[in-house]
C-alpha cells in the first residue's frame, strides 16, 4: 500500500509539474515571449503520466503537437522544454522545432508532430523496427479523436494490424477537434468499434484517474510485448483550455467546462492522496519543489542563448552538405 501511495505521489508531482509548466508557458505566450502555436494539455495530464508509468525507458512514444505533457512525463527537463518554447539553442530541439516539435531521443520520446494523422505511420515504423530486430520494445502513439477520420490513421492502423506490430494506439478523445464536437464529425460514439476493422483489440475508459490509465494501458503494452499485436485505446478526457492559445473556445458553455473541471485529474489524485493519509505538509513540499523548478525553467529559458544560424544550416542534412550553396548562393 505504501508503495502504491508513493507511486501516486510521484504521479501527482509529475502531473502538477506539467500543469504548472503549461500555465507559465501560457503566461509567457501572453507576454509574447513564446510565438507560433501553443496547444495546452491542461486537463489531460493523467493520460501522459499514467501511460508513461506503464512503459519502460526503452519504449518509444509519439505524440501530436499537444506534446508538452508527455515530453515532461517521459523525463524531459523543464529547462529544455521551456527553452524550446522560447526559441533557444538550449531547447530540446535547439529552437528549430518549437512547441509542436519537441524531441527527446535519450528518453525515447520521438516527437511532437504537427500534421493531423501524419505521425501514426511513423509510430508504426518504429514498432516495425522492434519486430524486425526483436528488441522487445513497445511503441505508444497518441492522437486525438479528430485524427480518426483522416487517411493517415486508417493506413497506419491497417498495416499495424496486418503485421501485428508491437504498438498501442491511444486516442485521447478530448471531445473537440479544434472547435467541432465529435457528434458532428463521426457516425460512431464508440471509436473502438474501428479497432475491429483493423483486426486489433480495443479498449475504452475514462482518463481522469491516473491509476486507471496506468493499469489499462499497461494491459495493452503487455499484450504488445508478448507479440499479440496492437491495441486501439480510446480515453475520454477534456482540455480545459482552447485548442490553442488563439482559441477562446466559444463553442462550449461555461457550465460544461465547470462540470468537466470536477473531474480534474489533479484534484482526483489529490483527494486520493488525502484519503491515503498524505498530509498537507507533504503536499506543500511537493508543490514547492515543482514551483521552484518551473520558476527556474522560465528564468533559464529567458537567459539562454538564442537559436543559432549555423545549427539551422547544419541540420538540413545529416550528411556533410553545405546547403548554403543552394539556390541563393
Amino acid at each position: 500500500m505504501a508503495s502504491g501511495r508513493d507511486e501516486l505521489l510521484a504521479h501527482y508531482e509529475k502531473m502538477f509539474e506539467i500543469r504548472r509548466f503549461e500555465e507559465e508557458a501560457a503566461r509567457a505566450y501572453a507576454q509574447s515571449k513564446i510565438g507560433g502555436f501553443l496547444h495546452l494539455y491542461i486537463g489531460q495530464e493523467a493520460i501522459a503520466v499514467g501511460t508513461n508509468a506503464a512503459l519502460t525507458d526503452d519504449d518509444y512514444v509519439f505524440q501530436t503537437y499537444r506534446d508538452h505533457g508527455i515530453a515532461l512525463a517521459r523525463g524531459m527537463s523543464p529547462n529544455a522544454a521551456m527553452a524550446e518554447l522560447f526559441g533557444k539553442d538550449a531547447g530540446c530541439s535547439r529552437g528549430l522545432g518549437g512547441s509542436m516539435h519537441f524531441f527527446d531521443v535519450e528518453n525515447n520520446f520521438l516527437g511532437g508532430w504537427g500534421i493531423v494523422g501524419g505521425h501514426l505511420a511513423l509510430a508504426a515504423g518504429a514498432a516495425f523496427k522492434s519486430k524486425y530486430t526483436e528488441d522487445g520494445r513497445v511503441t505508444v502513439c497518441f492522437f486525438g479523436e479528430g485524427s480518426t477520420n483522416i487517411g493517415g490513421f486508417h493506413e497506419a492502423l491497417s498495416l499495424a494490424g496486418l503485421w501485428k506490430l508491437p504498438i498501442v494506439f491511444i486516442c485521447e478523445n478530448n471531445q473537440y477537434a479544434m472547435g467541432t464536437p465529435m457528434s458532428r464529425t463521426s457516425p460512431l460514439d464508440d471509436l473502438t468499434l474501428k479497432a475491429q476493422g483493423y483486426g486489433m483489440q480495443g479498449d475504452r475508459f475514462q482518463g481522469y484517474d491516473v491509476r486507471t490509465v496506468q493499469e489499462r494501458v499497461g494491459l495493452a503494452v503487455k499484450r504488445a510485448r508478448r507479440g499479440e499485436g496492437p491495441t486501439f485505446i480510446e480515453v475520454e478526457t477534456y482540455r480545459f483550455r482552447g485548442h490553442s492559445m488563439s482559441d477562446p473556445a466559444k463553442y462550449r458553455s461555461r457550465a460544461e467546462l465547470e462540470e468537466r473541471k470536477k473531474k480534474d485529474p489533479l484534484v482526483i489524485a489529490r483527494d486520493l492522496l488525502k484519503e491515503a493519509g498524505v498530509g498537507d505538509e507533504q503536499m506543500d513540499e511537493i508543490e514547492e519543489r515543482v514551483e521552484a523548478a518551473i520558476d527556474a525553467c522560465v528564468k533559464f529559458a529567458a537567459a539562454a542563448e538564442p537559436a543559432k544560424e549555423e545549427v539551422m544550416w547544419d541540420t538540413v542534412y545529416a550528411t556533410d552538405l553545405s546547403t548554403k550553396r543552394g539556390a541563393g548562393r
Binding site: R94, H101, V105, A121, G125, Y132, T315, V316, Y317, A318
Partner: protein, 327 residues
C-alpha cells in the same frame, strides 16, 4: 565491364547492399511474391525472405511512413513506389516528415530512407500515370533527388543512396528498365557519389544538359549535330539535389552556349533552377540566351501522336542548339 540492363543494375545494387547490411529491407506493393511490377526486385524474395522483402497493401501513405519511422530508429528502408505517380498520396510522409525530421529534432534524429520507383511518361498511359516528379521533390530542402540515366549510374547511385544518411528520392526511368549499358564487373564495386554530375560527351560548341530519359534524346541530337559539324558537350547532372553546379558552369564557360532537355513541365523545376544558376555564375560567358526543351505545358494526352508532340524530341533539341549557335 559487362553489359547489364538498367533494371538488372538496380537489382544488383540492392542485392549487394542487402548482403552487406541486414538493416536494409525492401518494402512496397508487389515487390515480393509478384517479383516487382517492373521486375526490378525479381528473385529478391527467394534470396532474402519475407522478413526483408515485404509486400504491402495499396497504402502508400502508410508504408512510406513506416519506412520513415523505421529509419528514425535505425533501420535502412528501401521503399518502392510502383510508380512515382502514386507517391502523391504519400506526399505528406516525404515532405512533412522525411525531409523535416533531422532539422525539426535539432539534428538529433536522421532518416536514412530511399524512396525509389519508375518516374516519367511511359507509352500512352495518359495524364495520371505520366508525371515527371523531379520538380516537386527538388524544391524540398532535406531531400536528395537522384535521376540516373544509364545502367552504370543506376547501380552506382543506388548504392550511394542506400548508404546515405538522409532521405533520398530515387527516380528511375519507366522506359529505361530494358536499356542495356556497361557496368563494372561484380568484383569492382562502384559507389557513385551523390551530387556529382558527368560529362557524357565532350564538345566545344554548345552544352546540352539533360537527365533521365532525355539524356538519350540529348545524345542522339549531339550525334546528329556532329554530323553537321556542331560539337555538343552533353552534361548529365545525375543528382538534381544537390546540383553539381560547378560542372555545368565549367562546361558553359567553355562552350558559351547552353540548351537544357527535361521531361518535366516548363514552369520551374530543376530546369529553371539550372538556368538561374548559369545566368548568375556564367553571365559574361554566354553568347546566347539559354534555351530549354521541356515537356509541353499540358497534362499528358493519351493519343500517340499527341504524346510524341508533348515529350522532348531529338529534332526539338537540334533546333534549339541551332538557335543558340545562330546556325
Amino acid at each position: 565491364m559487362r553489359e547489364l540492363r538498367y533494371r538488372e543494375a538496380l537489382r544488383e545494387a540492392m542485392i549487394e547492399e542487402m548482403d552487406r547490411d541486414d538493416r536494409i529491407f525492401l518494402m512496397g506493393e508487389e515487390v515480393g511474391h509478384y517479383q516487382g511490377a517492373y521486375k526490378v526486385s525479381e528473385g529478391l524474395l527467394a534470396q532474402f525472405g519475407e522478413k526483408r522483402v515485404i509486400d504491402t497493401p495499396i497504402a502508400e501513405a502508410g508504408f512510406a511512413g513506416v519506412g520513415v519511422g523505421a529509419a528514425m530508429v535505425g533501420l535502412r528502408p528501401i521503399i518502392e513506389f510502383m510508380t512515382w505517380n502514386f507517391s502523391f498520396v504519400a506526399f505528406d510522409q516525404i515532405i512533412s516528415n522525411a525531409a523535416k525530421i533531422h532539422q525539426m529534432s535539432g539534428g538529433r534524429l536522421k532518416v536514412p530512407v530511399v524512396f525509389r520507383g519508375p518516374n516519367g511518361a511511359a507509352k500512352q498511359v495518359a495524364s495520371q500515370h505520366s508525371h515527371s516528379v523531379d520538380p516537386f521533390y527538388t524544391n524540398i530542402p532535406g531531400l536528395y533527388v537522384v535521376m540516373p540515366a544509364t545502367p552504370r549510374d543506376a547501380k552506382g547511385l543506388l548504392k550511394a543512396a542506400i548508404r546515405c544518411e538522409d532521405p533520398v528520392v530515387f527516380l528511375e526511368g519507366e522506359t529505361l528498365y530494358n536499356v542495356k549499358g556497361d557496368v563494372p564487373d561484380a568484383d569492382e564495386e562502384e559507389v557513385i557519389p551523390l551530387g556529382k554530375g558527368r560529362i557524357a560527351r565532350e564538345g566545344s560548341d554548345c552544352t546540352i544538359i539533360a537527365w533521365g530519359r532525355p539524356y538519350y534524346t540529348a545524345m542522339a541530337a549531339a550525334e546528329q549535330l556532329a554530323a553537321e559539324g556542331t560539337e555538343c558537350e552533353v552534361v548529365d547532372p545525375r543528382t538534381l539535389r544537390p546540383l553539381d553546379t560547378d560542372l555545368m558552369i565549367e562546361s558553359v564557360r567553355k562552350t558559351n552556349r547552353c540548351v537544357l532537355v527535361h521531361e518535366h513541365w516548363p514552369y520551374g523545376g530543376p530546369g529553371a533552377e539550372i538556368v538561374d544558376r548559369i545566368q548568375r555564375e556564367a553571365f559574361d560567358h554566354l553568347d546566347a540566351p539559354i534555351l530549354r526543351v521541356p515537356a509541353l505545358d499540358v497534362p499528358m494526352p493519351y493519343a500517340t501522336n499527341l504524346e510524341e508532340l508533348v515529350l522532348p524530341t531529338t529534332q526539338r533539341v537540334v533546333d534549339a542548339v541551332k538557335r543558340v549557335t545562330y546556325a
